[in-house]
Symmetry: C2
Subunit: 567 residues, 2 copies
């Protein structure tokens, strides 16, 4: 039964097994993490203080090997945005949660002493283990130390040094199918919340746990097969993503003028063809060695949009190298060199920070003249400063909004405190609408519309497009599914059917739509309590006043237009 909730108090160092409340029965992923945060965390709580909680959840198909069904959701009140936050990732941790019958882990309290811990969960229970020796280690070093102690097949959820230091770019990572611990729940500085709790990691050991037993086995096998056929037949999930990964997006965004370039000053990068999906694929294939252009981050994934990027000797630099990173650490910095971007990415991963937020922050540093745009070696040096925790490094590791305040920079690509991902909002207005209206802050995963067939820099229809996408993503997130499946789904009936077959439920596609819609409302309500108003549903001023020259357009979606937003 997938119905356990582990409650961990980091202040008293106690663990408690609970059964998931009945009211949460049908909630997974973001819907469950947001619901627990909304129910248990005061909206005015200090995000790094004792009253915030950090919630890990899996989806309703977790523990199975259904493709794309094992996203790990992490939720809390965000120290970056000051609002409710969910950030999900692939990897194997949610699969392990599912195998262990765990729907949620809720970490409470903080520690202000020198003691650090890891939470170890196996079939016999959960316990907090002293782990001071892991403190200060990079993400890979932490994972290796854990593998030595617990075996290489465990799932691990970790923070890096950035999280320990409560830095506002700190993410939370988990490991992939080959043990690489770089699958990031990157956004919203949830790693800083984990750091404030002195919880360095979670070890998920599913040894001896039974396979999930579908209630309606035949139906389950049939529907799973149907779902997999959808993925294997659609050109996007069957050909484009496996070949080019998420980096396939760059050709689209650069063409339509929506690829953030030079601190979001424009939406088209002259060096894009050196770092786009094709360049990435061809480089990986040509170099060979340990590299691969396609790779499954979650057990059973058929889309395999992940990759391993090797150096000239075929040794892995980073895995995966994704579109957002190529956009923010590449185009946005005018760095058109895959090797440099891969190294920057690796340093971010090892230190445990969000590449999007760091890319935005380096863009601010470049805007301030700390280093020149386009200077790869200088960017690598800056990442060294971050890893060595110098004061300049700390400024970057605090994210773009804080970096701009320290460095005196006016143009900050952020909404609700969070740096924008790689969709320039004047070039791709529908995604811009998502940035300003989602409770998540500037976040493409809350509803990206860059693939829609529309004139993206024309405001017409973009509020409705964003609303539809936000609702769709809220549903996908509530099920713990990967957004990469979306192009292949004619509708969401198949998802309900697989879930019903597994659990013996009688839910409809509409029930999940209701869950998705109610979850957004709940998140909005939390944010209102935290002090957010319509005044925060805006892009930074300069996006309304200065054109993105690639599309010759400002962001012109105003408060009146936003009244059309129906969620």
């Amino acid at each position: 039964m997938l119905d356990t909730l582990w409650r961990i108090n980091m202040n008293t160092l106690t663990v408690k097994r609970e059964t998931l409340p009945e009211a949460y029965r049908y909630l997974g992923g973001r819907a469950l993490s947001s619901r627990i945060v909304a129910d248990e965390v005061p909206a005015v709580a200090e995000p790094l203080g004792p009253n915030n909680k950090l919630v890990f959840t899996c989806g309703l198909l977790a523990g199975t090997t259904i493709s794309c069904a094992n996203r790990l959701s992490v939720g809390a009140k965000s120290p970056l945005t000051g609002g409710i936050k969910e950030s999900n990732a692939g990897g194997i941790a949610a699969y392990k949660l599912g195998r262990l019958g765990i729907r949620a882990i809720v970490a409470e309290g903080i520690r202000e002493d020198q003691d650090w811990f890891v939470l170890v969960i196996n079939k016999d229970g959960a316990s907090l283990k002293p782990a001071n020796e892991l403190c200060g280690l990079t993400m890979s070093e932490k994972a290796e130390a854990i593998y030595r102690q617990y075996g290489r097949s465990v799932g691990v959820i970790l923070i890096g040094p950035a999280g320990e230091r409560k830095q506002l770019t700190a993410g939370i990572a988990n490991n992939d199918t080959e043990g690489v611990p770089w699958r990031f729940s990157g956004r919203g500085a949830l790693g800083a919340v984990m750091g404030a709790k002195h919880l360095l990691g979670i070890v998920l050991d599913d040894t001896g746990c039974p396979q999930p037993a579908p209630v309606s086995k035949e139906e389950y096998l049939q529907k799973t097969k149907e779902f997999h056929q959808l993925l294997l037949k659609h050109p996007q999930t069957a050909e484009v993503f496996p070949k080019f990964g998420t980096a396939a997006m760059m050709e689209t965004t650069n063409t339509i003028g929506g690829l953030p370039t030079r601190n979001f000053r424009t939406g088209r990068f002259a060096g894009a063809e050196n770092i786009n999906g094709r360049a990435l694929h061809d480089t990986i294939v040509a170099r060979g060695g340990e590299g691969t252009p396609t790779h499954a981050c979650m057990p059973g994934c058929l889309v395999r949009c992940s990759n391993r990027y090797p150096d000239r000797d075929g040794k892995i630099i980073v895995s995966p190298l994704e579109y957002e990173t190529l956009g923010l650490l590449g185009a946005n910095l005018e760095i058109g060199d895959l090797d440099v971007i891969a190294k920057l990415n690796r340093m971010c991963n090892e230190y445990g920070v969000d590449t999007i937020e760091i890319g935005c922050a380096i863009g601010i540093a470049m805007e301030a003249g700390v280093l020149p745009f386009g200077d790869g070696p200088a960017a690598l040096s800056l990442m060294e400063e971050m890893m060595h925790d110098t004061y300049l490094g700390k400024i970057i590791a605090a994210g773009c909004v804080v970096a701009a305040k320290v460095l005196g920079v006016l143009r900050v690509p952020a909404v609700k405190g969070q740096g924008m991902p790689a969709y320039e909002p004047r070039g791709i207005k529908g995604t811009g609408v998502t940035y300003i209206t989602t409770p998540m802050g500037a976040d493409h995963t809350a509803g990206n519309v860059a693939r829609a067939q529309t004139i993206h820099h024309d405001k017409e229809g973009k509020v409705a497009l964003s609303a539809k996408s936000q609702l769709g993503m809220s549903i996908i997130d509530a099920l713990g599914l990967c957004m990469m499946i979306v192009p292949a789904l004619p509708n969401r009936a198949i998802l309900a059917e697989m879930i019903n077959a597994l659990h013996g439920w009688q839910l409809t596609e509409n029930d999940f739509a209701t869950i998705g819609r109610e979850n957004i409302r709940l998140e909005q309500e939390f944010n209102r309590g935290a002090g957010f108003t319509a005044a925060h549903d805006r892009l930074p001023e300069h996006f309304y006043e200065e054109v993105n020259p690639a599309v010759n357009a400002v962001f012109d979606i105003n408060d009146e237009d936003l009244k059309e937003m129906k969620l």
Copy 2:
């Protein structure tokens, strides 16, 4: 006639003389600056962007030598708080404005090039003069350069290097009766707004300007005399303030457990007797030389709470040395050494930053372990870092909230982004109520109740006490008066009588109460538009949960209590 409004556009480099609109006729000081900001600046404007305006105003008695009647008000949307802000100071600038017949200067637009300007106003008009050679100079160096060019009798309003760099502790200073340019409108980082506009200074030359001619001369002389008698007779204004300056406050706050100590961890400082009003007075008197314990910052001041603090050789270190600075750069850092505090103060003045915000920020750095509490030499080194604009210096110069985000510190003594002045809010709950409810952010000048006869750490009656004080201060601020007169006033009728006699008006004490009340409402409305809600009317979480050990009390005034707030 005191009815000129100068409008300065820093983008187009144009100046325009206007007559103050009739609707603003009876508004002075904060009431006028806030009204212009509320009328002309969009609530959602970026504070350092082109749509914010910086407004300088004087009071309704400006240009006379009535004691305490020449405060300079500076208003804008604050880059520190994100809300409307007014910060006023003594000095001679407002007196010069009065002599020049100017009620307000409104600076618009920003510059992003390398060119800097000063605004020069004399009886013949106003003009913007190129002033690149002043850029980078300290406050004193800028003032000296201006005196060489325009004579030593001009009024000057200046920013230091901090303002040029748009740093979030940057204040705006004007000169005193002896030409010392250290009278700060310190709060809210209004110096950064001036810096964004590339306006380094304003020179006010009243040569050839006529004396203000009272409409009812005899009445004016009679009422002025009565007012001055009040000041000369009350023990606070006639004895305590002239002898001990504002530092007289420390004996009170330390006794009642409301002197912020060790980053506001407690409210009583063991070294207070080495830095309180008596110690300050005795040291100044013993050292002699250029020092003096009493001094008028504004023309005609009878209270003379200012001072000049000399070193052992009798040479001035700083002037004035005031309570807030002694509290924040002294007790809050556990530095019980007047010479060290005076030097820190001087460095802040020369760099052009608010000593309150810097004291809070250094407290954060001490909490983070950057330097030890109580270490004067280390604090002086830190100020050197600030003046040399190192990255650590930039972190401190960004104020306590940003410094805490960069350095990973949980306990930040700030409300609405602004560091608290030297009244610990669990020890002095009425002032704590002001911190959380005033539109100004944590600001004692919006309504300090530390001198009231009450048990200050008992919540009883504190909401009403704060409300009364906030309203009173709004009235005093609207008239451009100094808050030091308050203890000597049996009521405010005399103020209305002097103003009526000067201008030939028929206003009552009640009319001014209405202006004060309406101004607070206007400021609250602006802040609502800027995104503030009841969720922001709170102290940081730890003040509700951890006791101030000096009074063994937490801050326990809750949302329900605040409903009693009647303004």
